[in-house]
């Protein structure tokens, strides 16, 4: 047995070093760390996605104009393919619900959904019946009701009805073209505002000119874009169509263009990219904070959900009637909830509060 007179200081030093090490590992990220992460997320995640939305929506505007000049099957298919591209791009950046996309409610203009009261159908039919030529301008759509100026209205025009509707009623075709032009203008404006100001506002957080008081505050918006969509995907895109005992396939998103499942796949892939697909990422930050095991869990969950989604049969509008599909979707929903819980827990590690009154008010 050692002498009780042995000096205590090596032990104390050891303990204090241990605490220091633990302290460093668990410390919340510093402002420069948040700044670096935000920079990566803006330049490698957000901007490329808005660029892709801008490109595809410009092509859609061109191809719907071509369809009106020559309404044949080839031009219709081209316009439908460009619609799918644009919807791909939108579903891949739908998670960003802050900054320029919220200006003038562009996010809602782009896609008003869910539409429980069939507002889009009613408003669109009204326009189609009246055939007022004054409504055929982007300026008109600026102040028009939210239901008739976005992707869901365009989906109805391009994917329901027949080619002869477009041939025989030039108004219908011109409305299609005008809505596509409006979406292109909106996408361009969103991108321009990011590159001409909002990206600087993020990188200069804390300065007088910035919207943000700190880099951490800007990171809160980024983290909301990572976590909040998980619940929306689960509740609106999966559980609502599953219904209460009886499936409701028409509650799926984009069922007319048969891409409900693809939307969910793109949404999850987008969140996965936001989590770990950039040079500096939430994943790398968690590892720096000594949370490698938790980061591994989150990555595993993302991969598992992506695989589960691959196994589901498309299109949901028909496959939803199969018990196997229901079972798969319930499993995916549970996995999304688990992912939500794990990511939310790590926000505490990172000292990020997503919102108290805004997310859970009364």
């Amino acid at each position: 047995m050692k002498s009780t007179n042995a000096p205590l200081w090596p032990l104390l030093l050891g303990i204090s070093l241990l605490f220091t090490a633990a302290g460093m590992l668990h410390a919340a990220p510093s402002e420069p760390q948040w700044q670096a992460l935000n920079h990566s997320l803006v330049s490698e995640h957000i901007l490329p996605r808005y660029q892709s939305l801008q490109r595809s929506s410009a092509e859609l505007a061109t191809s719907t104009a071509a369809l009106c000049r020559q309404p044949d099957q080839t031009h219709l298919e081209r316009a439908q393919a460009d619609f799918q591209q644009t919807m791909d791009a939108w579903q891949s950046v739908q998670n960003i619900q802050f900054g320029p996309i919220t200006t003038h409610m562009r996010n809602f203009s782009m896609q008003f959904w869910p539409d429980k009261k069939n507002l889009i159908g009613k408003q669109l039919n009204q326009l189609l019946q009246q055939q007022n030529p004054d409504t055929l301008s982007v300026d008109y759509l600026y102040q028009a009701s939210i239901g008739v100026k976005g992707l869901p209205a365009l989906e109805r025009l391009l994917f329901t009805g027949s080619l002869s509707d477009l041939e025989n009623t030039s108004y219908r075709c011109q409305l299609t073209q005008t809505i596509a032009a409006y979406i292109a203008v909106n996408s361009q404006a969103t991108l321009d505002e990011w590159t001409d100001g909002y990206a600087d506002s993020v990188s200069n957080a804390g300065s007088e000119a910035s919207y943000y008081d700190s880099h951490q505050e800007a990171a809160v918006d980024m983290m909301k874009a990572l976590i909040e969509p998980l619940e929306a995907i689960r509740d609106q895109k999966i559980l609502s169509p599953l219904g209460d005992g009886q499936v409701r396939p028409r509650r799926t998103e984009s069922w007319r263009s048969q891409r409900s499942l693809r939307n969910i796949q793109l949404n999850v892939a987008t969140l996965h990219h936001l989590y770990s697909g950039t040079k500096k990422s939430v994943d790398s930050l968690l590892r720096q904070q000594g949370r490698a095991a938790q980061a591994d869990n989150i990555s595993t969950l993302f991969n598992a959900i992506e695989q589960q989604l691959q196994a589901v049969q498309a299109p949901l509008i028909t496959s939803l009637h199969q018990p196997e599909t229901v079972k798969q979707l319930l499993e995916i929903s549970a996995a999304l909830q688990q992912l939500d819980r794990e990511l939310s827990a790590e926000m505490i590690t990172l000292n990020i509060q997503l919102g108290f009154n805004s997310r859970d008010g009364d």
Binding site: H26, A27, K116, G355, F356, N357, S358
Partner: protein
């Protein structure tokens, strides 16, 4: 115990602040003056009722049995009532001078609270909004302070889901916001009647329970839940709505009611109305009763209104800002936020100042100023 850098900085910070505060307290008796009280959630997830002094120091830290919503200050005595968030069952009555829990009121069997209560102006009664669970009907219940908070009156609220209630100053009129949303404790906070909900604003005589007036919204606006209100001396009520439909429809989110008239909806300029994201969290008149503040925590902004002219004045950014209270100055408000920040905004000077603070906590929906 895990010691992280933040905790270490807090310890260091408090150790450095302590001597200054003690000195300040000795120097200046004003420092012990309370500024506001509010429920909050601390960083470890525990709920508290805090009373904060003019210098930002903690004058009372009362642990709560669960999450609370509104805090009400007694008009004459050093008492705070802190009401459980719906569907909660407790109201803690705390004496902040003696630093003790005076009474924990528990909701009767078959009832729960909705998060709001007021002391009557004469200080004799505590009045709550409650849910009669088996019928889903709202109740307005009066308890007597002289009789150890025994129930002395139990009135119907003539609606579902009554939320905030206020007394019109200098009158015996109670104004009650019937939110219209049916919930049942078995289903948590799930909204059970969004398709058929019918919110209303009730004016009630507090001595008799008689319904003096009840206003509903037109049927195409029935999903604008009437949740948070304040009433001035003239009986004009400012209303903060929460829209239960698709917020892309961009409905007006603020209303004003004058006795004998219909509710009038007020819309902020489009960019602001849109930015409010369909959801207001709190409404308060200023000390003069002319100006009102309405918070929009989902939009990270506070809007200000001139209710003499029914006009929007301005808005300021306040991330996760929700709690509002009038200060003793005209056109001036204190704003608390879920990020822990507290600011003071004066409409006349346009100045926004950060309140001194020694506590890092998430302030819950409502705060009250405390002046005795």
């Amino acid at each position: 115990m895990e010691i992280n850098r933040r905790r270490f900085c807090q310890l260091l910070g408090s150790a450095m602040l302590l001597p200054q505060m003690t000195l300040a307290a000795a120097d200046d008796s004003r420092s012990a003056q309370p500024m506001f009280a509010s429920a909050a959630k601390d960083r470890s997830g525990q709920y508290h009722l805090y009373l904060i002094g003019q210098q930002g120091q903690v004058l009372l830290d009362h642990p709560l049995p669960g999450r609370a919503h509104h805090t009400e200050a007694h008009p004459q005595r050093p008492l705070l009532a802190c009401i459980a968030r719906r569907p909660g069952h407790f109201i803690d009555i705390v004496d902040y001078q003696q630093q003790r829990l005076v009474k924990r009121i528990i909701a009767d069997n078959g009832r729960h609270f909705f998060g709001h209560a007021v002391f009557s102006e004469d200080g004799r009664w505590l009045i709550t909004t409650e849910n009669e669970i088996n019928t889903g009907q709202g109740r307005v219940v009066m308890r007597s302070l002289e009789q150890n908070y025994a129930v002395i009156a139990d009135y119907p609220s003539h609606g579902i889901g009554p939320h905030e209630l206020v007394q019109q100053p200098g009158s015996s009129v109670l104004v009650v916001a019937n939110g219209g949303i049916l919930t049942h404790p078995d289903r948590g906070r799930e909204k059970l009647n969004l398709d058929s909900m019918q919110p209303s604003l009730l004016r009630l005589d507090l001595l008799s329970g008689e319904r003096l007036d009840q206003q509903q919204l037109p049927s195409d606006q029935h999903q604008l839940s009437i949740r948070h209100i304040d009433t001035n001396r003239e009986g004009n009520t400012v209303i903060a709505f929460q829209y239960q439909g698709n917020i892309g429809l961009n409905l007006p989110l603020v209303g004003v009611h004058r006795p004998g008239e219909a509710i009038q909806l007020l819309r902020a300029p489009d960019p602001v109305n849109m930015a409010m994201k369909g959801y207001c969290g709190s409404a308060r008149f200023d000390q003069s009763g002319r100006f009102a503040a309405v918070s929009a925590p989902r939009g990270d902004l506070i809007s200000f209104w001139d209710l003499q002219k029914n006009q929007f004045i301005s808005s300021i950014k306040s991330r996760d800002g929700c709690g509002l209270a009038a200060t003793g100055n005209s056109a001036e408000f204190i704003i608390s936020s879920g990020t822990g920040r507290c600011i003071r905004h004066n409409l006349q000077t346009g100045a926004t100042t950060r309140q001194p603070q020694t506590l890092a906590t998430a302030w819950d929906n409502h705060l009250t100023t405390v002046r005795l």
